[in-house]
């Protein structure tokens, strides 16, 4: 039973390691596009994304360090509320920032659509008035001229 467990553990370790290394290798080769990792959809840098990234690495690193510092290595039995709060604040800010950005884009889209609609209506009005000015005279008008 112990041999089977160890074999399974080795398979999982090798598999995760290979997947991780493949991802890192592809990032360095430029095959995985991380251009917009810390920027908004409009292409500008995003502070909320940056802080979320920083805290993800900081908290993941601290978990790792605490786990390997105990002998034998042991996952921490209790995760303090303050650590969760720290991650929660940065995550919450990221989600709110994303919501605000989405609302802004919707607003911009709505304004643009309204402007386009106004433009179409104005063009139609111009076309109608032009057509009205070139309407041929009625039969009564031509008789009166004669």
């Amino acid at each position: 039973m112990k041999v089977a467990t160890e074999t399974f553990a080795w398979i999982v370790i090798v598999l995760i390691g290979l997947i991780g290394l493949a991802i890192i290798f592809q990032i360095f080769r430029g095959k995985i596009d991380l251009t917009s990792l810390i920027s908004e959809s409009d292409g500008k840098g995003s502070m909320s994304r940056l802080q979320f990234l920083i805290f993800t690495f900081v908290i993941a690193g601290s978990f790792f360090l605490i786990t390997i510092s105990s002998n034998p290595p042991k996952f921490p039995a209790k995760i303090p509320g303050e650590v969760l709060a720290l991650l929660g604040i940065s995550g919450g800010s990221y989600v709110l920032g994303k919501g605000v950005q989405a609302s802004k884009e919707t607003q911009v889209h709505k304004n643009r659509t309204e402007v386009q609609r106004e433009q179409i209506l104005s063009d139609e009005r111009k076309g109608l008035s032009r057509r009205a000015s070139v309407v041929p005279p009625t039969v009564g008008q031509t008789d009166a001229k004669r």
Partner: protein, 110 residues
Amino acid sequence: MLATSLEIEVATLLIGFLLAIGYLATTRQIKIEGFLSTSADVAQLSMGRIQLLIFVLAVSGTYVGQLMENPHRFPAIPSAILLTYAGSNATYVGAKAGPLIRSFLYGGSK
């Protein structure tokens, strides 16, 4: 043997991801233009963003520093620091949402 391999693997992956992101950021393959500027104008610096950057660096630096001193347990984070950090984030989100709220209140085209 198993535990050591796992430790090396996790450390390699964490450092590898960090290096990859750092490399892409320094070679400008990750867009960072307009990081500290307002949403509307690239040339205008945003106080909300600057203060958030300072707080993020200060809080994460303190956290890592405390962890290095005693890596056997999670560092104690005073609730005052958490509140300040939450306030900083609220300021940032508030500044970001400000123009949107104004446009809802006073009309979109203004």
